[in-house]
Symmetry: C2
Subunit: 199 residues, 2 copies
């Protein structure tokens, strides 16, 4: 379809193509229900090629996740540049996140599947990839808030990420919640805190 003769393309290009197809199939069918045979057929290649390039079904999923996470990190990082205050950086970053998950459904669906790898050999690698995001936030927390307690900064990053991910899943069931509203809800708790005494 895209290219005339579906044959003999260089490894790097084939890999990209495989990831693209796999991303669609994984997010459409779910990781467990997706079959390597189907992905291979859609790519227009035989199954052993997938194994040649990605070792296993898990490996293929990890490659897909790595790509989507990198995009997400870049989008959120980009959103925060030029923010004057910590508050503004946090708000912009979160808004970028909620916009991302609404616009790039497929990528987000894939990221949700990273949890499917818990308890597998790939779990550690996934945790490594997540650190792209948490390290970024932990660094901002330390810098903006002049907090030199490293452990606390990491914990704070986990809280921010965890909040956003859960909120994102919740948003999927509440179509009426816009990215702006989600951001407002999150800011209200994370920045101001639940303590009602402050104005």
């Amino acid at each position: 379809m895209t290219t005339a003769k579906r044959k003999r393309m260089p490894r790097a290009e084939r890999e990209r193509q495989m990831i693209e197809v796999a991303e669609q199939v994984f997010s459409a069918r779910g990781y467990a229900a997706a079959s390597m045979d189907e992905i291979a057929e859609l790519v227009g290649v035989s199954k052993p090629m997938l194994y040649e390039y990605f070792d296993s079904k898990e490996g293929l999923l990890v490659a897909c996740i790595r790509q989507s996470r990198t995009e997400l990190r870049d989008v959120t990082a980009q959103a925060t540049v030029g923010a004057a205050t910590a508050e503004e950086a946090l708000r912009r970053g979160m808004l970028a996140f909620f916009v991302f998950i609404r616009e790039r459904r497929q990528a987000w669906s894939l990221l949700r599947h990273e949890m499917a790898l818990i308890g597998t050999p790939a779990a550690e690698e996934i945790e490594q990839i997540r650190r792209q995001q948490t390290d970024l936030i932990a660094a901002m927390v330390s810098a903006y808030l002049a907090d030199d307690d490293h452990l606390r900064a990491e914990a704070t990053a986990q809280i921010v990420v965890g909040s956003n991910e859960r909120l994102a899943i919740w948003c999927e069931q509440h179509e009426e919640v816009t990215p702006e509203m989600a951001t407002e809800y999150a800011m209200d708790v994370l920045w101001r805190g639940l303590d009602p005494r402050q104005g």
Copy 2:
């Protein structure tokens, strides 16, 4: 071992026994790597019995998760009774949570596996079970904080739960973080907020 003749026990009892064994196997091997044959053998029963009582591997996992989540909700709900303020209720609830995940590793490991069911027919049922927890928190938020915005209360509950779950996973990699420290980190963000201006 436990009972002399491993034969012919009433359904309810057999179910409990199956769940007990399945909980161990799932949390030890991981959902994907666990096999129904192994579980059946450890129970001392043949595989079709598992399917008779739980329909599928997924169904068995859901049953295990339901039990562990009920325990977790009861523990956290119990911890908050008699708290004088919202702050105290939140702190006690979260401390109970972090103690739970450290003491009942197996149950917590199982709850982490609920994510493995994303994109499967059981996903909706899992989300239903989670609501045991979020509804409880949303109700407390509404009551204590006199907030009548239902949507916001739900979002807040998701933030609290998401924070705690991510923090719990992070704690597994940081043995030096005690439940008390985790609670303090979480309270500092969720109650006071990140805004450094307040004292």
